[in-house]
Symmetry: C2
Subunit: 149 residues, 2 copies
Protein backbone atom coordinates (compact mmCIF):
# COMPACT_ATOMS: atom_id res chain seq x y z
CA UNK A 1 0.00 0.00 0.00
CA UNK A 2 1.29 3.44 -0.93
CA UNK A 3 0.20 6.68 0.77
CA UNK A 4 1.01 9.83 -1.17
CA UNK A 5 -0.36 13.21 -2.24
CA UNK A 6 -2.99 12.75 -4.95
CA UNK A 7 -2.12 13.19 -8.63
CA UNK A 8 -4.38 14.86 -11.22
CA UNK A 9 -5.34 11.45 -12.64
CA UNK A 10 -6.70 10.33 -9.24
CA UNK A 11 -9.96 12.29 -9.67
CA UNK A 12 -12.01 9.30 -10.85
CA UNK A 13 -10.55 6.98 -8.20
CA UNK A 14 -11.37 9.46 -5.45
CA UNK A 15 -14.92 9.96 -6.74
CA UNK A 16 -15.38 6.17 -7.06
CA UNK A 17 -14.43 5.65 -3.39
CA UNK A 18 -16.67 8.59 -2.41
CA UNK A 19 -19.63 7.00 -4.21
CA UNK A 20 -19.28 3.85 -2.07
CA UNK A 21 -19.57 5.61 1.30
CA UNK A 22 -23.13 4.98 2.52
CA UNK A 23 -22.95 7.53 5.32
CA UNK A 24 -22.24 10.44 2.93
CA UNK A 25 -25.31 12.28 1.64
CA UNK A 26 -25.53 13.22 -2.04
CA UNK A 27 -24.78 16.82 -1.06
CA UNK A 28 -21.63 15.68 0.74
CA UNK A 29 -20.53 13.60 -2.24
CA UNK A 30 -20.99 16.67 -4.44
CA UNK A 31 -18.88 18.65 -1.98
CA UNK A 32 -15.95 16.22 -2.32
CA UNK A 33 -16.04 16.74 -6.09
CA UNK A 34 -16.29 20.52 -5.69
CA UNK A 35 -13.28 20.60 -3.35
CA UNK A 36 -11.26 18.53 -5.84
CA UNK A 37 -12.28 20.65 -8.82
CA UNK A 38 -11.73 23.88 -6.86
CA UNK A 39 -8.06 22.97 -6.55
CA UNK A 40 -7.46 24.85 -3.30
CA UNK A 41 -7.44 21.75 -1.05
CA UNK A 42 -4.92 18.99 -0.40
CA UNK A 43 -5.80 15.37 -1.11
CA UNK A 44 -3.78 12.34 -0.01
CA UNK A 45 -4.54 8.87 -1.39
CA UNK A 46 -4.03 5.27 -0.30
CA UNK A 47 -3.14 3.20 -3.37
CA UNK A 48 -3.15 -0.61 -3.61
CA UNK A 49 -1.88 -2.15 -6.86
CA UNK A 50 -2.23 1.28 -8.47
CA UNK A 51 -5.89 1.67 -7.51
CA UNK A 52 -7.15 4.40 -5.12
CA UNK A 53 -8.71 2.60 -2.12
CA UNK A 54 -9.00 5.59 0.21
CA UNK A 55 -8.24 9.27 0.58
CA UNK A 56 -8.20 12.26 2.87
CA UNK A 57 -8.89 15.90 2.01
CA UNK A 58 -7.47 18.59 4.28
CA UNK A 59 -6.45 22.24 4.34
CA UNK A 60 -5.27 25.06 6.59
CA UNK A 61 -7.99 27.12 8.28
CA UNK A 62 -7.97 30.79 7.25
CA UNK A 63 -6.73 33.27 9.87
CA UNK A 64 -4.96 30.56 11.90
CA UNK A 65 -1.28 29.75 12.19
CA UNK A 66 -0.99 26.02 11.64
CA UNK A 67 -4.52 24.75 12.29
CA UNK A 68 -5.65 22.27 9.65
CA UNK A 69 -9.08 20.83 8.96
CA UNK A 70 -9.54 17.23 7.93
CA UNK A 71 -12.49 17.75 5.59
CA UNK A 72 -12.95 14.17 4.46
CA UNK A 73 -11.61 10.70 5.06
CA UNK A 74 -12.99 7.81 3.04
CA UNK A 75 -11.90 4.18 2.70
CA UNK A 76 -13.28 1.67 0.21
CA UNK A 77 -15.59 -0.69 2.16
CA UNK A 78 -13.55 -3.70 0.90
CA UNK A 79 -10.50 -2.25 2.71
CA UNK A 80 -12.13 -1.80 6.10
CA UNK A 81 -10.62 -3.45 9.18
CA UNK A 82 -7.21 -3.58 7.47
CA UNK A 83 -5.87 -0.49 9.22
CA UNK A 84 -6.08 1.58 6.03
CA UNK A 85 -7.99 4.37 7.78
CA UNK A 86 -5.47 4.62 10.59
CA UNK A 87 -2.56 4.63 8.12
CA UNK A 88 -4.31 7.37 6.09
CA UNK A 89 -4.62 9.47 9.24
CA UNK A 90 -0.95 9.00 10.13
CA UNK A 91 0.16 9.86 6.57
CA UNK A 92 -2.06 12.95 6.58
CA UNK A 93 -0.72 14.07 9.97
CA UNK A 94 2.84 13.71 8.64
CA UNK A 95 1.98 15.92 5.64
CA UNK A 96 0.31 18.51 7.87
CA UNK A 97 3.31 18.60 10.20
CA UNK A 98 5.64 18.96 7.19
CA UNK A 99 3.69 22.13 6.30
CA UNK A 100 4.08 23.52 9.85
CA UNK A 101 0.69 22.38 11.12
CA UNK A 102 0.15 22.26 14.89
CA UNK A 103 -3.41 20.98 15.12
CA UNK A 104 -5.56 18.71 12.97
CA UNK A 105 -9.32 19.08 13.43
CA UNK A 106 -11.89 16.46 12.44
CA UNK A 107 -15.50 17.60 12.60
CA UNK A 108 -18.26 15.03 12.53
CA UNK A 109 -21.85 14.43 13.50
CA UNK A 110 -23.18 13.36 16.88
CA UNK A 111 -25.85 11.18 15.24
CA UNK A 112 -26.07 7.45 15.95
CA UNK A 113 -25.19 6.75 12.29
CA UNK A 114 -21.79 8.37 12.90
CA UNK A 115 -20.98 6.34 16.04
CA UNK A 116 -18.38 4.27 14.17
CA UNK A 117 -16.79 7.43 12.75
CA UNK A 118 -16.46 8.90 16.25
CA UNK A 119 -15.10 5.59 17.58
CA UNK A 120 -12.56 5.61 14.74
CA UNK A 121 -11.25 9.09 15.59
CA UNK A 122 -10.98 8.13 19.24
CA UNK A 123 -9.17 4.89 18.39
CA UNK A 124 -6.52 6.80 16.43
CA UNK A 125 -5.84 9.22 19.28
CA UNK A 126 -8.17 12.16 18.68
CA UNK A 127 -9.92 13.89 21.56
CA UNK A 128 -13.45 15.19 21.60
CA UNK A 129 -12.77 18.87 22.32
CA UNK A 130 -16.07 20.61 21.56
CA UNK A 131 -19.75 20.06 20.78
CA UNK A 132 -22.25 22.47 19.22
CA UNK A 133 -25.80 21.32 19.79
CA UNK A 134 -28.11 20.97 16.76
CA UNK A 135 -25.42 22.34 14.45
CA UNK A 136 -26.12 20.33 11.30
CA UNK A 137 -29.86 20.19 11.90
CA UNK A 138 -32.16 19.82 14.91
CA UNK A 139 -30.96 16.75 16.82
CA UNK A 140 -27.70 16.54 14.85
CA UNK A 141 -24.80 17.96 16.87
CA UNK A 142 -21.37 19.01 15.63
CA UNK A 143 -18.65 17.05 17.42
CA UNK A 144 -15.11 18.41 17.07
CA UNK A 145 -12.18 16.02 17.45
CA UNK A 146 -8.65 17.39 17.60
CA UNK A 147 -5.09 16.17 17.60
CA UNK A 148 -2.56 18.67 18.94
CA UNK A 149 0.90 17.67 17.66
CA UNK B 1 -30.36 55.10 12.97
CA UNK B 2 -31.29 52.72 10.16
CA UNK B 3 -30.37 49.03 10.07
CA UNK B 4 -30.66 47.40 6.66
CA UNK B 5 -28.98 45.03 4.22
CA UNK B 6 -25.95 46.73 2.65
CA UNK B 7 -26.16 48.32 -0.79
CA UNK B 8 -23.42 48.15 -3.44
CA UNK B 9 -22.41 51.76 -2.69
CA UNK B 10 -21.70 50.86 0.97
CA UNK B 11 -18.34 49.25 0.13
CA UNK B 12 -16.27 52.32 1.07
CA UNK B 13 -18.25 52.99 4.24
CA UNK B 14 -17.80 49.39 5.38
CA UNK B 15 -14.07 49.46 4.65
CA UNK B 16 -13.74 52.84 6.45
CA UNK B 17 -15.32 51.39 9.62
CA UNK B 18 -13.14 48.28 9.29
CA UNK B 19 -10.00 50.44 9.12
CA UNK B 20 -10.87 52.01 12.49
CA UNK B 21 -11.06 48.73 14.43
CA UNK B 22 -7.79 48.45 16.39
CA UNK B 23 -8.31 44.82 17.35
CA UNK B 24 -8.47 43.65 13.71
CA UNK B 25 -5.14 42.62 12.18
CA UNK B 26 -4.24 43.75 8.65
CA UNK B 27 -4.96 40.20 7.46
CA UNK B 28 -8.42 40.37 9.04
CA UNK B 29 -9.12 43.75 7.44
CA UNK B 30 -8.14 42.28 4.07
CA UNK B 31 -10.53 39.40 4.74
CA UNK B 32 -13.47 41.78 5.23
CA UNK B 33 -12.72 43.32 1.82
CA UNK B 34 -12.35 39.89 0.22
CA UNK B 35 -15.69 38.72 1.61
CA UNK B 36 -17.37 41.88 0.28
CA UNK B 37 -15.76 41.61 -3.15
CA UNK B 38 -16.47 37.86 -3.30
CA UNK B 39 -20.18 38.65 -3.18
CA UNK B 40 -21.23 35.38 -1.55
CA UNK B 41 -21.80 36.83 1.95
CA UNK B 42 -24.51 38.95 3.51
CA UNK B 43 -23.71 42.36 4.97
CA UNK B 44 -26.04 44.45 7.12
CA UNK B 45 -25.24 48.09 7.93
CA UNK B 46 -26.10 50.59 10.63
CA UNK B 47 -26.56 54.00 9.02
CA UNK B 48 -26.72 57.36 10.82
CA UNK B 49 -27.48 60.44 8.69
CA UNK B 50 -26.71 58.34 5.61
CA UNK B 51 -23.23 57.35 6.83
CA UNK B 52 -22.26 53.72 7.61
CA UNK B 53 -21.32 53.57 11.31
CA UNK B 54 -21.27 49.82 11.73
CA UNK B 55 -21.90 46.54 9.98
CA UNK B 56 -22.18 42.80 10.32
CA UNK B 57 -21.17 40.12 7.81
CA UNK B 58 -22.82 36.72 8.05
CA UNK B 59 -23.65 33.62 6.03
CA UNK B 60 -25.05 30.10 6.21
CA UNK B 61 -22.57 27.35 7.01
CA UNK B 62 -22.23 24.77 4.22
CA UNK B 63 -23.80 21.36 4.87
CA UNK B 64 -26.01 22.67 7.69
CA UNK B 65 -29.72 23.37 7.75
CA UNK B 66 -30.09 26.84 9.19
CA UNK B 67 -26.80 27.41 11.01
CA UNK B 68 -25.36 30.85 10.31
CA UNK B 69 -21.92 32.27 11.06
CA UNK B 70 -21.48 35.86 12.15
CA UNK B 71 -18.15 36.50 10.44
CA UNK B 72 -17.69 40.12 11.47
CA UNK B 73 -19.26 42.81 13.55
CA UNK B 74 -17.71 46.26 13.62
CA UNK B 75 -18.90 49.56 15.05
CA UNK B 76 -17.25 52.94 14.53
CA UNK B 77 -15.44 53.82 17.78
CA UNK B 78 -17.39 57.14 17.93
CA UNK B 79 -20.63 55.10 18.18
CA UNK B 80 -19.58 52.86 21.04
CA UNK B 81 -21.67 52.69 24.23
CA UNK B 82 -24.74 53.86 22.29
CA UNK B 83 -26.17 50.38 21.90
CA UNK B 84 -25.33 50.30 18.19
CA UNK B 85 -23.61 46.92 18.51
CA UNK B 86 -26.56 45.37 20.29
CA UNK B 87 -28.99 46.78 17.73
CA UNK B 88 -26.79 45.45 14.91
CA UNK B 89 -26.92 41.98 16.48
CA UNK B 90 -30.71 42.09 16.84
CA UNK B 91 -31.16 43.28 13.24
CA UNK B 92 -28.81 40.56 12.00
CA UNK B 93 -30.66 37.89 14.01
CA UNK B 94 -33.94 39.06 12.49
CA UNK B 95 -32.48 38.71 8.97
CA UNK B 96 -31.09 35.25 9.76
CA UNK B 97 -34.44 34.11 11.14
CA UNK B 98 -36.18 35.49 8.05
CA UNK B 99 -33.98 33.16 5.98
CA UNK B 100 -34.89 30.14 8.13
CA UNK B 101 -31.83 30.27 10.38
CA UNK B 102 -31.96 28.39 13.69
CA UNK B 103 -28.56 29.18 15.16
CA UNK B 104 -26.18 32.15 14.92
CA UNK B 105 -22.55 31.40 15.75
CA UNK B 106 -19.98 34.03 16.72
CA UNK B 107 -16.40 32.79 16.88
CA UNK B 108 -13.78 34.88 18.64
CA UNK B 109 -10.44 34.71 20.36
CA UNK B 110 -9.75 33.77 23.96
CA UNK B 111 -6.96 36.36 24.19
CA UNK B 112 -7.05 39.15 26.77
CA UNK B 113 -7.32 41.70 23.94
CA UNK B 114 -10.70 40.16 23.03
CA UNK B 115 -12.12 40.28 26.55
CA UNK B 116 -14.46 43.14 25.66
CA UNK B 117 -15.64 41.28 22.54
CA UNK B 118 -16.48 38.22 24.63
CA UNK B 119 -18.20 40.39 27.24
CA UNK B 120 -20.22 41.99 24.44
CA UNK B 121 -21.50 38.65 23.10
CA UNK B 122 -22.42 37.56 26.61
CA UNK B 123 -24.21 40.85 27.29
CA UNK B 124 -26.40 40.39 24.22
CA UNK B 125 -27.43 36.87 25.20
CA UNK B 126 -24.90 34.57 23.54
CA UNK B 127 -23.57 31.52 25.35
CA UNK B 128 -20.03 30.22 25.28
CA UNK B 129 -20.66 26.76 23.86
CA UNK B 130 -17.20 25.50 22.88
CA UNK B 131 -13.47 26.21 23.13
CA UNK B 132 -10.62 24.85 20.98
CA UNK B 133 -7.27 25.36 22.67
CA UNK B 134 -4.50 27.14 20.71
CA UNK B 135 -6.70 27.31 17.61
CA UNK B 136 -5.57 30.64 16.15
CA UNK B 137 -1.99 30.26 17.35
CA UNK B 138 -0.26 28.88 20.45
CA UNK B 139 -1.91 30.54 23.45
CA UNK B 140 -4.80 31.92 21.36
CA UNK B 141 -7.93 29.80 21.80
CA UNK B 142 -11.05 29.73 19.66
CA UNK B 143 -14.14 30.58 21.71
CA UNK B 144 -17.49 29.78 20.10
CA UNK B 145 -20.55 31.76 21.18
CA UNK B 146 -23.98 30.68 20.00
CA UNK B 147 -27.54 31.90 20.01
CA UNK B 148 -30.13 29.19 19.41
CA UNK B 149 -33.37 30.88 18.30
Amino acid sequence: MIFEPAKPEDRQGILAVTAKIDVFTDEEKDTVRELWDDGGYDFLVARRDGRVVGFTCYGERALTEGTYDLFWIAVDPSERRLGTGKSLMRATEAEVQKRGGRILIAETSGMESYASTRAFYESVGYQKEAVIRDFYKPGDDLVVYTLHF
